[in-house]
Symmetry: C2
């Protein structure tokens, strides 16, 4: 559902952004970005997800390094953090063109399944809000909550 051919970040981009801010290009930071590049289908990776995937590839990276690197890549605008209320912060690869950021998440309250939508109709609203609030808006996030086809049973009150 999400366009898989939008331009995202490369290892060279990582190198450039790191050095601009005085950070170093380490193998661990490359490995982590590579995980996101190599798995365009698996967005929404948590620190533990990334850690397990790298360990599975013979990396001996530490979990703390994964946490630190995910936060760093987030602050560099290479990854975007997202919260689905499942108790951990997840990340997805950002796109180079900020106007291409926009997609929605549709979350099933019962099975926790997450579906993505590319479409966005909030640019006008964002402009209004920026104007009225004086905020410099850098991103927005839309989530719809409900029950997917499979989970639409009689009682929706108890998982």
């Amino acid at each position: 559902m999400t366009g898989a051919d939008e331009k995202t970040f490369t290892i060279d981009d990582l190198k450039a952004r790191l050095s601009t801010k005085g950070y170093k290009l380490t193998p661990q930071r490359k490995e982590i970005l590579q995980v996101f590049i190599d798995h365009p289908d698996q967005h929404h990776l948590s620190a533990e997800d990334v850690h397990l995937m790298l360990r599975g590839e013979n990396s001996k990276i530490g979990l703390a390094t994964v946490y630190r690197s995910l936060e760093l890549l987030g602050s560099l605008g290479i990854l975007l953090p997202i919260e689905f209320g499942d108790g951990c912060t997840r990340y997805e690869l950002n796109t180079v063109d900020p106007s291409k950021h926009r997609h929605h998440h549709l979350v099933c309250l019962k099975c926790k399944k997450v579906i993505e939508f590319d479409e966005d109709r909030l640019d006008e609203l964002e402009a209004d809000i920026a104007l009225r609030s004086g905020f410099w808006i850098t991103n927005h996030e839309v989530k719809f909550f409900g029950y997917c086809k499979d989970c639409q049973t009689i009682d929706h009150n108890r998982a």
Copy 2:
């Protein structure tokens, strides 16, 4: 900014919803709902916020009970959970009319300030998504992230 005169839930509503599901109306559950009713200005209360407020009012309620009750009131549709990425789940009082749920949150990435907006333009999009996905959508959540007037300094990369 949020309409303060929209109809929200009362203790009687709580009683009704609890008994429908076989839950008991306890003084603790009443106290907690009352906190939200008594402080329409202070939305976004965390479990610890509620606990401290009640302790300040001579209640001897336990923190675990606050957590359990907030989740219960959430599952009854009386409260709505929200996440602002500050490390804890917060709740706000729901409105009786589900079409009145809609408001946005504008979050400053630097000072963590949260501003609310009533306006919503997503009904049409929600209908589209429901139709295409087969989801039964019960709520949606929109957050804009950026930097408030006070925090618009030169370097936005480090808090």
